[in-house]
């Protein structure tokens, strides 16, 4: 065990740090922030993704032949740390980078890799995920969206839900039923669908935070070329399991941890500066204890992800332990976001629109957003089933 870095790793860090200092606007994170308005914010993030790509900072650990940097997982972790340090914006193309890309790398044909990976890296193409359906939420394998083979095409009909960022996406990967007569896990295929195809329509789903990160997506006789099938016909469930391991994996966790750590640092600062009676809010030992515990948990989130990275480095396969990572970060972040509101009291409830808002109202917004953490990417109940059955070996 060694948290020291090699000279190469340190050089990677310094290169990135220097690049970020130049690339981010002056005063970033202190006086200059992301746009408040939702769509403007997403477009800002897309532009940032493209800027990162232009500097060679996307596809960090993807093979060079598809446009990646060919870096190590450790460098990927360093990347996450430095993005956190610089308070860099989040990515809009998380689905492409963290889910579509790795799945295509694993199971795609050479042609699919050449076609899709470079454009994920360059963020020319944003991706959406088409797994869930209104009647197949936690029970993912009961997908009803059908794809019928007609010549060299699939004809897709059905409805997906929780397709994140569909309104900004050019592509969607979807689970579709290709054999209605097979047992439910055996008749599913994994398709890449052009969101500009005729017959695709989307309807935004508003969340409790008021934002519309998610959508319902409808497929009405959508034609998908047969070459967009990933893996074998009816073998989609196995492929989806890999996608899910990435969705819940350490890369995703580290990227999110950036945000949570930043929020927590901000909370510590605010609580240490906000007047309360004759002192400040964090003079209260109870508040100190709560903040201390939150610090421990947010740090542990990173450490759990790094432990997983090290297992991969040592040659272990990705597996159900990704569920541990997802279950941990989602609840820890939710607790921290709730504590923030509790500690700040009435002023913490003000939104960014209010002239007296604390930290631009970010605590209230994060609090609302956090309620979805333990539901999307597989609810906590599903993660506990996976951990119980596949990791601990408890009977079904």
């Amino acid at each position: 065990m060694d948290f020291n870095y090699t000279p190469e790793e340190n050089a990677f860090r310094m290169d990135l740090r220097k690049w970020l200092a130049d690339a981010l606007p002056k005063g970033w994170g202190e006086t200059v922030f992301e746009p408040e308005e939702e769509e403007a914010r997403y477009l800002f993030r897309r532009d940032w993704d493209r800027k990162l790509a232009s500097g060679g900072w996307t596809g960090i650990n993807w093979p060079v032949e598809y446009g990646g940097r060919g870096a190590t997982l450790v460098e990927r972790a360093i990347f996450a740390e430095e993005m956190a340090r610089a308070r860099a914006p989040e990515s809009l193309n998380i689905i492409g980078q963290n889910l579509a890309g790795p799945t295509i790398l694993h199971f795609g044909t050479e042609a699919q890799k050449k076609r899709f990976l470079p454009k994920i890296i360059s963020s020319e193409e944003i991706w959406a995920q088409g797994f869930s359906e209104p009647n197949a939420g936690s029970d993912l394998a009961s997908v009803r969206t059908r794809a019928e083979r007609k010549g060299d095409k699939f004809i897709v009909n059905g409805q997906k839900i929780w397709t994140s960022f569909a309104q900004y996406s050019q592509w969607c990967f979807a689970l579709v039923r290709t054999d209605p007569d097979a047992p439910k896990h055996k008749g599913i295929s994994f398709l890449l669908i052009d969101m500009n195809s005729p017959g695709v329509s989307i309807r935004p789903l508003r969340q409790i935070s008021g934002e519309s990160e998610f959508n319902e997506t409808f497929f009405d006789d959508v034609e998908v070329p047969a070459e967009n099938l990933v893996g074998d016909l009816n073998d989609g469930w196995r492929i989806a399991m890999t996608t899910l391991a990435y969705e819940r994996g350490p890369e995703d966790c580290l990227a999110r941890q950036i945000r949570f750590k930043r929020e927590l640092d901000s909370l510590i600062d605010v609580a240490g500066a906000m007047p309360m009676d004759d002192g400040v809010v964090s003079d209260d030992p109870g508040v100190q204890e709560d903040l201390g515990r939150a610090i421990v948990e947010i740090d542990a989130m990173r450490l759990v992800a790094l432990r997983s990275f090290s297992r991969f480095l040592n040659g272990e396969e990705r597996g159900p332990d990704a569920s541990i990572i997802k279950l941990y970060w989602s609840h820890a972040a939710q607790r921290m976001n709730e504590k923030a509101i509790d500690i700040l009291g009435a002023p913490g409830l003000l939104t960014g629109e209010d002239p007296e808002a604390v930290a631009r109202g970010s605590f209230g917004m994060s609090y609302l957003q956090s309620k979805a953490f333990t539901i999307y990417s597989g609810s906590s109940e599903i993660q506990r089933n996976i951990i119980g059955e596949r990791l601990l070996g408890l009977p079904r």
Binding site: D139, D277, G345, A346, L349, T351, K371, A372, S379
Partner: protein, 376 residues
């Protein structure tokens, strides 16, 4: 000893609940106040605001206990907190008002003409009334209050302010010179929390509740508000329990109603237990408040803290058990979440009230010990 509500009390609560359900905007996904006035008028027509007014002042002369279930219904129905604050103000006038104040206020209070918001919280100040900064000096009130629910729609404010080094309650017209009301933009716009600035606002001698001679009215306000707010929050908690159980019975996954899975079933059971414990605690506070018993402060703080905790847990569990639907705007669970959070932070958060419960219990034990010694 009877820890059950009578037929009239139950029926009143049900009536209030049914009445509120006629105003769907109150609990609709969008945070609108468009039916607040209509709901207010309907409640006034029902006579809600005359219930606590004494019979000698042409009211119904009921006690706080009589309206406990109605308060719970106001919480579950997401009625404007202005309804609750007006009821609290009415009870305070009944207990502490001078005859002149009673004569002047009970009439418009009873009919619902007079809406009263309560100005308590200050920026950078805790809950202890001794530490608040708003003060009356030379007959003029200065300072700023925040999180005053419904101040923009209220006719009058009941303001906690220091007067001659004494925590007092002053009635102030929202339209008086020097009063500036600004609606805050916060987590629950439907609760209409406002910032209210007082800049040398003239306070006539008869504007101080009971004449301002003691801090008893402020202490009573704290206990009354804690008790009434416990009723509002436990109302939310119970609504979340009902909604969730109903959903768990009908929503199917893996070919079964999700309520058949232990992970869901057991959490619904835990919610039910907490709602029962919270109700018992809240109702007991209502009784102690109504009786003005020696345990008023302890039971009020117990109820405020505990019911807020329970409402929080219930809202969180409701969202989680509803799965993807739980975090959609359309399902409107966020309305309860937002309101519960606003109620939780008003008049002292749970940490403050739990500490007060401890302090009161210690004081009570010391008083008992003294009594024993004196008896010996």
């Amino acid at each position: 000893m009877n820890f059950a509500f009578n037929e009239e009390q139950r029926s009143l609560g049900e009536t209030v609940g049914q009445l509120l359900s006629d105003f769907p905007a109150l609990t609709a996904p969008d945070l609108s106040r468009e039916q607040d006035d209509d709901a207010w008028n309907a409640l006034a027509e029902l006579g809600l605001f005359s219930l606590l007014v004494p019979e000698e002042n042409d009211g119904v002369g009921l006690s706080l206990v009589d309206v406990a279930l109605s308060v719970e219904a106001l919480g579950a129905g997401l009625a404007s907190p202005l309804v609750a604050s007006t009821l609290i103000a009415t009870e305070l006038v009944k207990r502490f008002g001078t005859d002149a104040q009673k004569d002047a206020l009970f009439g418009p209070l009873a009919t619902g003409e007079l809406k009263v918001a309560i100005a308590y919280t200050e920026r950078g100040k805790g809950t202890d009334p001794e530490k608040l900064a708003c003060a009356i000096s030379g007959g003029c009130l200065s300072g700023t209050k925040i999180a005053v629910a419904g101040a923009d729609a209220a006719d009058r404010l009941l303001v906690v302010a220091r007067n001659n080094d004494q925590a007092s309650l002053a009635f102030v017209e929202t339209g008086a010179a020097g009063v500036t009301v600004r609606q805050q933009d916060d987590l629950d716009p439907s609760a209409a929390l406002c910032e209210v600035a007082f800049d040398g606002v003239e306070i006539a001698a008869d504007a101080l509740l009971g004449g301002g001679a003691s801090d008893a009215p402020v202490n009573a306000l704290l206990d009354l508000a804690a008790t009434v707010y416990s009723g509002l929050t436990i109302g939310i908690a119970n609504r979340m329990l009902e909604t969730t159980v109903e959903y768990a019975k009908t929503r199917e996954q893996f070919g079964k109603a999700i309520g058949s899975f232990q992970s869901i079933k057991h959490r619904c059971a835990d919610m039910a237990v907490l709602v029962e414990a919270g109700r018992a605690t809240s109702y007991f506070a209502f009784w102690n408040c109504a009786e003005d018993s020696a345990e008023r402060a302890q039971t009020a703080s117990a109820a405020k803290a505990y019911c807020a905790d329970i409402a929080r847990d219930a809202c969180n569990e409701a969202i989680q058990i509803h799965g993807g639907m739980g975090f959609t705007w359309e399902m409107a669970l966020h309305r309860y979440l937002r309101r519960a959070k606003v109620l939780e932070s008003a008049f002292g958060n749970p940490a403050w009230h739990y500490r007060r419960v401890h302090a009161e219990a210690v004081a009570g034990r010391e008083a008992d010990a003294t009594a024993c010694r004196d008896a010996a």
